[in-house]
């Protein structure tokens, strides 16, 4: 404490001068922090509002599109399910519309095969053109789906020699296996062609998937199915125990040979109708949490 009458030294003078400056600086600091905090909050609110607006717009758009698709689907599917006098041309056109608009949410193979059967029985002079149109739309859709899936997974192509298959008999024809790596899992996929349906341009195959390192996480899996032009990989695939999907489709067919494309891809790229198992969802969430923790 300063004694009365004692002359003020340099520190006392500095204290007198600096005290209000300190107060002023404190006030500035408080004002600055408040302003910055308020700006940050405003920015965050603005981002939240934008995100909410975007999601609202997207959901409204989805709703409008879903409603349109529903109406469209109902009117097209009715033409197949009710007895009508529609000609083959109308049926092929309706199937084309269905295929182009709903190929990733509906398995249209039974409808394709039914229209194909009707066309084969028909005496319409244009039936060859209609059949070609059916095959063309199916191949276009398969090619588009393969193109998208090959970006997320891996694929391979094999040629089945149908003359060799006929000679092999019931044992079928083993095609060269391929090693694929999808979602960090490496496994081998082998196809055995069992028989051919030349009229419907389909082959019957048995797919065998084995873990490359013999790990127990992926036990040997086998599935037998028919493969034709109307098998769309996004919608018609086989689920492996690890969640990866594998699908085969026909790329080309002649009386002598058939080209089969097999694609394996992560389960999240399968169609909307293919719901994931709960344990798969939980596993994915766990993985995401672990990745987040590792990043911190």
């Amino acid at each position: 404490m300063k004694e009365p009458g004692k002359e003020k030294d340099l520190w006392d003078k500095a204290a007198i001068l600096l005290a209000p400056i300190g107060g002023l600086l404190t006030a500035f600091a408080v004002a600055f922090v408040g302003m910055k905090g308020s700006q940050l909050l405003e920015r965050r609110q603005s981002l939240d509002t934008n995100a909410r607006l975007y999601s609202e717009l997207m959901s409204r758009r989805e709703e409008a599109e879903a409603s349109l698709r529903k109406d469209m689907f109902q009117s097209i599917i009715t033409s197949f399910l009710t007895p009508t006098t529609d000609g083959l041309s109308a049926k092929v056109l309706n199937l084309e519309l269905l295929a182009y608009n709903f190929h990733d949410s509906l398995n249209l193979k039974p409808l394709f095969l039914e229209v194909q059967r009707q066309l084969r029985r028909s005496t319409d002079p244009d039936k060859a053109d209609y059949l070609a149109r059916l095959n063309r739309v199916a191949r276009e859709i398969s090619a588009k789906q393969l193109f998208a899936l090959e970006g997320k997974g891996q694929s391979f192509r094999r040629t089945a020699d149908l003359e060799a298959l006929a000679a092999a008999g019931a044992a079928g024809l083993q095609l060269d296996p391929e090693t694929l790596t999808v979602d960090g899992q490496t496994f081998q996929v082998a196809l055995r062609v069992l028989k051919v349906d030349a009229e419907q341009q389909q082959i019957s195959v048995r797919m065998r998937v084995t873990a490359d390192d013999g790990s127990a996480a992926l036990p040997d899996s086998r599935a037998q199915f028919t493969v034709g032009f109307y098998d769309f990989p996004v919608i018609d695939n086989t689920r492996l125990p690890t969640g990866v999907r594998c699908a085969s489709t026909l790329a080309n067919f002649s009386t002598m040979s058939a080209d089969v494309v097999t694609v394996c891809f992560p389960g999240e790229y399968a169609s909307l109708k293919d719901r994931p198992y709960y344990d798969e969802v939980i596993q994915k969430l766990r993985e995401a949490n672990e990745q987040e923790r590792a990043a911190l």
């Binding site: 391979f156 192509r157 040629t159 060269d176 391929e178 002649s254 002598m256 040979s257």
Partner: protein, 116 residues
């Protein structure tokens, strides 16, 4: 126009008429060639033999992709030449284009080719 000048034209037209359907039914074989896990780039050639007919080699582009047009449909053998070594692989040709991606590998100094 005298008879001698008409005859070659008629012959040419007949040849063209018999040749055109086979061209119309021609199939394209295309694909990408990779070696050691990477595209071969412009460094490879692919020739084809379908039945008794041979097709001259075509070069791959910078992405390692080749395109061959063959007149026949059926079994074909592709001969791939890369870094002075050759390997063959069997494919099928169709009326429509057929994709045949090829993986090259060196095994005991020998170049081998397989479909992918």
């Amino acid at each position: 126009m005298n008879r001698s000048s008409i005859a070659p034209s008629v012959l040419a037209a007949l040849v063209a008429l018999t040749w055109l359907p086979s061209v119309a039914a021609a199939g394209e074989i295309y694909g990408k060639i990779s070696f050691n896990g990477a595209a071969v780039g412009e460094g490879a050639t692919v020739a084809a033999r379908c039945g008794t007919k041979s097709y001259p080699a075509v070069k791959t582009d910078r992405t390692g992709t080749y395109n061959l047009v063959v007149a026949e449909t059926g079994k074909c053998t592709l001969t791939v030449t890369h870094q002075g070594k050759t390997a063959t692989v069997d494919v099928a040709s169709y009326e429509d284009a057929a994709q045949a991606d090829i993986v090259l590998e060196l095994k005991d100094g020998q170049l081998t080719a397989r479909r992918r």
